[in-house]
Structures are given as C-alpha cells and as structure tokens.
Symmetry: C2
Subunit: 189 residues, 2 copies
DNA sequence: CTTTTCTTTTGACGAACGTCACAAAATCAT
DNA sequence: ATGATTTTGTGACGTTCGTCAAAAGAAAAG
C-alpha cells in the first residue's frame, strides 16, 4: 500500500520492511473535494500531511482581509504546516484543496510514539524537516532577490506547473504582487 | 562552560548532565572581527553554528550583483545555513560578522556520530530544525503579506534591534526594497 | 444551451518604487 | 585632530505598482 509514499521515504532515507510495516499502521487517508479545507485558520494542526494526489494551497488573510498564498503543493509533497503542529497553537494558515485531492496524514501523537520506538523515524523526521527548511529559505531569497517581473520569469522557467495549474489570482500573492499587476506582467511578456 | 548554549538547549529540550558533557567535547570556537566571513559563497558548510556574541548577517548576490540580506543573527541564535550543510553543496550565501563575534560550531561529522550514540541529539536536532523552519515561514509570510511601509513598521514594532543595530543598507534588502526607498519610508515616518 | 458565477484582463489615476547622481552625515584610520 | 571612507539622505525622473471600477472571457450550474 501507499507505494508513492514509500518511494518518497526511500528517496530520503531507505526504509526497512519492518519500519515500513509499522509506519503503514498509523497512516490515515482523507479525500478532499475542490475548495474543501484540510485545515482552517484557528484550528490546531494535529498531523503531518502528505499529498497523495491533487493540489493544495496554503493561504492566510492579511490585515486588509486579503488572501495571501504562501505555498502550493502537488503530488508527493509533504505539507509544511509546522508551526501549529509543533507549538500546539492555532494555525494562522488555511490549507485548501485547489483540485480534488487525496491526503495521507500521520497523527502527531502516533508519530511521537513511533519516535520513541525506533531511531529511524526520528532521523527521517529530521531529514524531512531539513528539506522543508531549505524550500522555505529558497522562497524568501526568491522574494527579496528578484523584482516582480523577474519572479514571474523565474517561475515560468523553473516551476511552469504553477502557472499552468494554479489560478493566477492565487499565484499573484505568492509572487508578492496584486492580481492586476501579474496580469500586466504577463501581457508585457 | 558555555552556559548560554546550555541554557538555550534546556529551553528547547532539557539536556542531561551526561549528554551535555558529551556534547561539550565537540564544541569548537571561532572569533570573528567585524567584516570577517564565517562562510563564503561557494564554500561547503561543514558545521552547525551558534552565535555566542556579536551580530552576523547572511547575504548573497543577485543576478545584478547586488547584495541581498536574508537573515540577521544575534546572541544565542542558531544560524540557519542548512542547505549547504545538508546537501554537501557549495553555499549560495555568505555569513559575515557585522560586529566582532564569537561563534560556537559543531562539526557535522562529529554531530552525526553523536546522533548514533544517543536518541537525545537526534531529537534535539529535529526540534531546532522545527524552530528554524517556523522562522523561515514567518519571514516569507511577512514579505508577501505586507507592503514595504508595513514591513518597516512591523520591524520597528517587533524587532527594533534590527533598526538599531543593523546598517540600513543591509536592512533594506531584508525588507525587499532599495536603500533609498527605506530612507524615504523612514522620512515619512 | 443558456444563465450564472468566477476568473482574468483592461483602463484610469495617484502613489510608491528603483535608479542615477550627488550631498550630508557619520565613522574609521592615521 | 584631520582626512579618507563609509553610510545615509535627497532630488529628479521614468517605470511600475496598487486600487477601484468595469469589461471580457472561461468555467460551472441548471
């Protein structure tokens, strides 16, 4: 079961049959229709999520009540909603399906129990976090190092799936600009 | 020895005398004069750093050759230069002292050996990474959710030490704007 | 197929930004 | 102390941005 998750684990740190069997037993599944929420602002996040299929976005509302998108997830991504889960605090962010999606999730309490059982999970958890931290660092460099137009061109070059599959109104705030400005940047090619 | 590091550890995860003694044995120290580099772009980062005293900045050059500052570190901060260390790839970033600084560093190979010895270090490492990831997530939200002026006001309110102790020319790129624009925002109060 | 709803584009306008050049102020080194 | 260097502020200018309002286009619902 869950071959794509197993494959994703294996790429990070080869998982033994035994460890995988134990891990499989804590996996739960959730199906989301387009526009369904996986997590809402204010809720406490109690699980680690792995996107099995579909597309999910992270967004929050700024002081003006405008939606700010800070992440888009595709197949085989781990969702980076660490703050709420780690600190047991209400999430500032929403996780919402952009397309019908299937999410695997691993309950935090069960995961903690696994951490005690075998070193392996602890190590895997650390390595996944390393990857997530790197992604976040790259995103903030991306936002500070480039102008709006350069950011769009960068995405066009390096993450075309965002432009093809994410509504432009969502993508705009991810690029740090308004909907209309993104439209005009696209026009200027 | 190293009371502030021990205290910082304890706040994250209570460290036993035994674990601390083992850990102490791998600690090394580096003193930096103002403008000295702890790490240069292109070098491979081989240690985790903890800033014992002083101020350090992270910056890199964008395509126009302009310096982009993406982090400032103060006393008792862990430095977030994860990508190069984790992936053994040349660093894209520079770590440079803004003031005379003392850095504790923990060699990656020695740290890995500790990870094998006791679960504790593995867990501590994971928890530190969780904190670093949260910081990075907040920074990117900060950049996308607020206008340049709002970003300055936010820093003024929440991180006044940046405005007091970081040269404005460095702070500007951290806020995602030009030196001159920051100067004008300050003028408009 | 048609209507409704949602998304993207366009126009107009004022504000803010980046850039270049230079001036003023502060800091450093001798 | 004083001259050199670095940092910060200002002026001018063209460009791009955000906003509001409305139109055009695409997608969803009946």
């Amino acid at each position: 079961m869950y071959p794509s998750l197993k494959h994703t684990f294996d790429k990070i740190l080869k998982i033994s049959d035994e460890d995988w069997q134990t891990f499989e037993s804590i996996i739960e599944t959730k199906n989301l229709k387009k526009k369904d929420y996986l997590l809402r602002q204010g809720q406490i996040c109690r699980a680690v999520y792995f996107l099995s299929s579909g597309i999910i976005r992270t967004f929050h509302l700024n002081d003006d009540g405008k939606e700010i998108n800070t992440a888009f997830y595709f197949q085989n991504d781990f969702l980076r909603e660490i703050e709420s889960m780690t600190n047991h605090t209400p999430s500032k962010k929403n996780l919402q399906a952009i397309e019908d999606s299937t999410v695997l999730f691993f309950d935090k309490a069960k995961l903690t129990a696994l951490y005690e059982k075998s070193d392996f999970y602890q190590k895997l958890g650390r390595m996944i976090l390393e990857k997530l931290t790197i992604i976040e660092q790259r995103y903030s460099s991306f936002l500070t190092a480039y102008s709006p137009k350069e950011r769009y061109l960068y995405i066009l070059e390096n993450r075309p799936e965002l432009i093809e599959q994410i509504p432009l109104q969502y993508l705009a705030s991810y690029l740090g600009i308004s909907r209309e400005s993104l439209s005009r940047i696209r026009k200027r090619i």
